[in-house]
Symmetry: C2
Subunit: 152 residues, 2 copies
Amino acid sequence: MTPDLDLQLSRQIKASPATVWTCLTTPELLCQWFVPAPWRCAEAVIEPQPGGRFYSLFKGPDGEEMPNEGAILLAEPEQRLVFTDFFRAGFVPNETPFMLADITLAPRDGSTHYTALVRHRTPEDRARHEEMGFHEGWGTAADQLATLAEGL
Amino acid sequence: MTPDLDLQLSRQIKASPATVWTCLTTPELLCQWFVPAPWRCAEAVIEPQPGGRFYSLFKGPDGEEMPNEGAILLAEPEQRLVFTDFFRAGFVPNETPFMLADITLAPRDGSTHYTALVRHRTPEDRARHEEMGFHEGWGTAADQLATLAEGL
């Protein structure tokens, strides 16, 4: 971790890495935890392989739509998922790359230790992400992920 | 291919994809073709896996040194090598991403059809790369690769 470029949070989730992995890579499940209310994830496409598409469509309470087009860079089942908006599917560069998410799952005491490491190009991008509410947003999403996985 | 963002060139190499692949992924061999004279490649590190390090050190005729730190994104032996300066090893973002190279090898008539597709974030970056001498530089390198592979 590079303190001036990265943001990170962790959660202990009372479910197996296999279950958490399913929640990360199944579109209908991803949409149940990925976005903090009042926004919601209306649609997702996840191709868990290097260069695969990682797409999600966020919808706001007033009908706003925010499509997110990115790529998976690494998918190690039950262990690690890396995705980014630096590229779209097939390694096509995005003009305005902002972040890369490196999510790791580790078995711990019968549960899963979930860590989201989010990396940026510049200290300014990191600061902007933090100001946009990284800890609340990704934190709420992680809590929602835990609730979903623990109920499966 | 996206015409305003990509540059591309191809060569027919009279060697097997396995031999060309060896020239792409063995540091001592890469250094024999990767840089057009009078510059030379003095050192390379290639970790052919997603997130692996792709490093090369170019030295100029007057002792100039140009280190290039990037990452491999995909390594499909004898078929496809994707590397970029968007990240360093371990998916650490670079502040000034410039290009991604998607190299494919295809068997054709007992030879190898080599294609280097080089992608950029913006039309300006593509134009800059073309003005820097993409076709001469990557073309000379491809010719050197062919000569090396055909002699192995």
